[in-house]
């Protein structure tokens, strides 16, 4: 396959940035999107040009490192698929593809397609945990948890923290990410003691990081490679309201 790539290049956070066009002539349908970039990069290096910088690590769709916006959609057109798991068979010979970094106010570009998603870590540090020190836990089976709630918690916990939700949201909101963690812990008995405090602290941090508000576009759910449901946002809103009304 022949593919034309129009890629965002930006040397540093302060550089203005621009699109550059590259022609990839020998693309195999079995390649992943990132493998196509690898081959282009090898070619660029041999021509003495700097390769396109992009984040990636596991290449299995689980670490959440890869983060391109492909033809305007975070992680590209394929449903429930990260960029690293997107294969070129999903494109046609002769296609032109626009590749950009995840864009959100709270994700400054570091270089080319790499952005700084440290804001997500800070949201977790604000309350996305259960405060138990190592060593004090009781027997794991001492507290049965209904399979229904354990499964719901797992559905929420599947979030890989990639940032696609914020990049997809017209408001640049991090609601889906934050809601997934708040919901996971709210479904479990272990999360109860800090339930209210957690909701308030995480939402406060989210706002301080410069993420926008939710106005129900649902673009986040559509872009989420792990198909985290927007129902968790509704749950988070309830959690937040209850916490505000009855906070200790």
């Amino acid at each position: 396959m022949k593919i034309k790539l129009i890629v965002w290049r930006q040397n540093s956070p302060t550089d203005k940035g621009r699109f550059e066009t590259y022609n990839c002539d020998e693309v195999s349908p079995d390649m992943s999107f990132l493998e196509m970039l690898d081959i282009l990069n090898e070619k660029l290096i041999l021509q003495g040009q700097e390769p396109i910088a992009f984040d990636h690590d596991c290449r299995e769709g689980i670490c959440g490192a890869c983060s391109c916006t492909i033809n305007g959609v975070p992680h590209g057109p394929e449903k429930a698929t990260t960029t690293c798991q997107l294969h070129m068979r999903k494109f046609k010979d002769g296609d032109s593809i626009y590749v950009e970094p995840f864009r959100a106010k709270a994700f400054p570009v570091i270089r080319d397609l790499i952005v700084d998603r440290g804001a997500y870590d800070r949201i977790i540090a604000a309350g996305g945990f259960v405060s138990v020190n190592t060593g004090g836990a009781q027997d794991a089976n001492a507290l049965p948890i209904s399979k229904h709630y354990a499964d719901l918690a797992m559905d929420a916990a599947a979030c890989i923290g990639c940032g696609a939700c914020a990049a997809a949201c017209p408001n640049g909101a991090a609601m889906l990410f934050t809601a997934a963690k708040i919901s996971q812990l709210a479904f479990l008995p272990q999360g109860q003691p800090e339930r209210k405090k957690r909701a308030i602290a995480m939402i406060k941090q989210m706002e301080e990081e410069g993420f926008g508000a939710c106005t129900n576009y649902y673009e986040c759910e559509a872009a989420c490679p792990k198909e985290i449901s927007v129902r968790f946002i509704a749950k988070m809103n309830r959690e937040y309201m209850m916490a505000r009304m009855f906070s200790e």
Partner: protein, 637 residues
């Protein structure tokens, strides 16, 4: 070189208790005066860093990833073992201990493995308390599955994302401490070197991957939890950035490297599809609970799998190992796959593949059960191969996966450099010559949550350190060395990319130091590796500058270490003139192809000591004494 393992006295089951009592303690109020550096924030590093901070130590943690949540541990799929005996099927600490020593083909240290089995149960308790959503049964209790090399169900799991959920648990504990300002977290920083002052490890030198800045960090003790080196084979199931740099550079500063040739090849990975391939994707071993592995009985049978009748299929694992069948240990399953492919009975376009077939279990249990158990793995398979495993069998082939070898550590997880501790996959301690499935997560978290928090206190209490700053001459020297290395890489200005060298090295390693090894091949590798290295230092090209985020430079810096380390690995494989576990020397096998150990000559750990690049390192040994287990020929028949 002193390889005193410092195994405590007493009966095996009392050793850890005795030791915990005998260890020196540090007054809670004094702990904050001690600084501990943790390099790597995967399961082992994140759990250690969080636990240290909870105890009151002053902690700095480092990762080259943009967040601790991205560490390679996140990719573990199948599960984590623990001797809980929740299934009432006869499990016990002793059985987990025995299975692990036997699975490792009797090349691990009894006392360490027994401690691992002892603390395994606490890990599950801790993770559940953190909110890790393990799979549960309808009654609300925890569910288990079986893994290779065991006949009990002791594996806890969270769908096909166990590593992710465990890491997110450890990460949340770590981030809690970051939020409390008890841990200073450094992301996108790569450790370049350790610094040894007056015989003790007193800090590290790092390179900031965004600005290129070389920086020093002082501490009273350092922990490396930097993972394994399977990427020495270029293609492996590891994440792209996994590398040997931190442990290899510690080795160059005096830490012994133990059993580097013990590398595990995982039997169930998606086969290579072309030259563009950048990694091999694992299909969790848990699939072998319900999938049956087979190849056609006849050579070159190119029919579609559905057209090959039952009687013309060879379910070779079930045939050769009736009691463990498809759940035979990894080394045995991988070698058997290679064997049938070498006989010309392999499938897939390349002839290097075997079927993993779910038809029978879908018929028996229904598609929905299989979907619930493995849905996400099936989806991943389909995404990569464009084939639907509910309808046609998966194609799989072995791939480099895990490294049992690593820096030598004593019972306290301290390397041969005092003050330098090593945790998780980066150390060599518990898995001998072959790791059983679901035991790496267990070991990483055992080290981080339940072993090092005790033993590091014992070290600190007995080793008062002088106050030093980063202006100490040893730090300045280490910084200069790191800067020189970067400058050298930037200035070669040759014609080949770091990736091209890595690929070349990987091929030499896979062909000669891979699943089957022999003297001639290993000697060949020892000729080839230095040649590639020499070309690297004369013909490498690195674009861009040091002062900006530079992915080419990052890669070159890592490949440079692989090119030196590979030689140590090959030396180890050559000198270990026996077969054991995953180390299969073709010269030493029983007539049926099983590995033939030589306990008389090789019941020891080989710990290599650095003597200069290109020089043959010194092979030191730590004898392995089995007081509780009878060394037997491993049988899974």
């Amino acid at each position: 070189m002193n390889l005193d393992a410092k195994v405590p006295s007493g009966a095996l089951k009392d050793k850890w208790d005795n030791h915990r009592f005998e260890m020196k303690l540090i007054n809670p109020a004094n702990k904050r005066k001690y600084k501990i550096i943790v390099v790597g924030t995967g399961l082992a590093g994140a759990s250690a860093a969080a636990s240290f901070a909870e105890l009151g130590y002053n902690v700095e943690a480092f990762t080259y990833n943009d967040s601790p949540r991205r560490a390679h541990s996140i990719a573990a799929q199948g599960g984590i073992n623990a001797a809980k005996n929740y299934q009432n099927d006869g499990d016990s600490i002793w059985r987990l201990f025995y299975d692990t020593v036997k699975g490792g083909d009797f090349r691990s240290r009894e006392a360490n493995v027994h401690r691992l089995a002892q603390v395994s149960a606490n890990i599950i308790d801790q993770c559940v308390a953190q909110g890790v959503p393990f799979a549960r049964e309808y009654g609300g209790l925890l569910d288990n599955r079986s893994f290779g090399g065991a006949q009990v169900s002791r594996t806890f799991y969270a769908r096909g994302q166990t590593g992710q959920q465990l890491l997110l648990g450890a990460y949340s504990a770590l981030m809690r401490q970051v939020g409390l300002n008890a841990v200073k977290m450094h992301v996108r920083k790569e450790m370049m070197d350790i610094v040894v002052i007056d015989g003790r490890c007193r800090g590290i030198v790092t390179r900031d991957l965004v600005t290129g800045k070389i920086e020093s960090h002082v501490a009273d003790a350092v922990c490396l939890a930097t993972g394994g080196y399977a990427n020495v084979f270029y293609l492996s199931t590891n994440a792209q950035a996994c590398n040997v740099t931190s442990t290899y550079r510690a080795y160059k500063k005096g830490a012994a490297f133990a059993n580097p040739c013990f590398t595990q090849i995982h039997p169930t990975c998606i086969p290579v599809s072309g030259d563009h391939q950048s990694k091999l994707t694992l299909m969790s071993e848990s699939l072998r609970n319900d999938g049956r592995i087979w190849v056609p009985k006849n050579q070159g049978d190119k029919r579609k799998p559905a057209d090959i009748p039952e009687e013309e299929r060879d379910y070779y694992l079930e045939r050769k190992y009736p009691s463990f069948g498809n759940l035979s240990p990894r080394d045995i399953s991988s070698r058997s796959a290679k064997q049938v492919c070498d006989e010309g009975r392999g499938i897939s376009a390349t002839g290097y593949g075997v079927y993993l077939d779910f038809a029978e279990s879908i018929g028996r249990l229904g598609k929905h059960v299989i979907e619930e158990r493995y849905g996400n793995l099936f989806e991943m398979y389909e995404r990569i191969t464009d084939e639907n495993p509910y309808e046609t069998p998966m194609m799989i082939y072995p791939a480099a996966h895990y490294t049992m070898g690593g820096l030598w550590v004593d019972y306290n997880l301290m390397s041969t450099v005092p003050g330098l501790h090593v945790l998780g996959e980066a150390n060599f301690s518990d898995h001998g010559a072959n790791r059983l499935g679901a035991s790496a997560l267990m070991q990483g978290l055992a080290d981080g949550y339940f072993v090092i928090p005790y033993t590091i206190g014992n070290y600190l209490a007995q080793n008062k350190t002088d106050k030093i700053g980063t202006d100490h001459e040893e730090f300045k020297k280490a910084e200069a060395e790191s800067t020189d290395k970067i400058t050298k890489l930037m200035n070669i200005k040759g014609k080949k990319t770091p990736n091209a060298f890595h690929r070349e090295l990987g091929k030499v390693m896979w062909d000669n130091v891979g699943m089957g090894r022999n003297e001639a091949g290993l000697k060949k590798a020892l000729v080839e590796i230095p040649k590639i290295r020499e070309e690297f230092w004369n013909n490498l090209t690195v674009t861009g500058t040091n002062e900006n985020l530079n992915t080419v430079l990052e890669k070159a810096n890592r490949v440079a270490d692989f090119l030196e380390f590979a030689e140590v690995l090959a030396h180890d494989a050559l000198e270990r003139d026996e077969s054991c576990g995953a180390h299969f020397r073709e010269e030493h096998q029983f007539p049926d192809g099983e590995a033939m150990r030589n306990d008389e000559k090789f019941a020891h750990v080989a710990a290599w000591e650095y003597t200069g690049v290109g020089n043959k390192p010194i092979r030191n040994t730590e004898p392995l004494v089995y007081e509780n287990i009878h060394l037997a020929v491993r049988s899974y028949k």
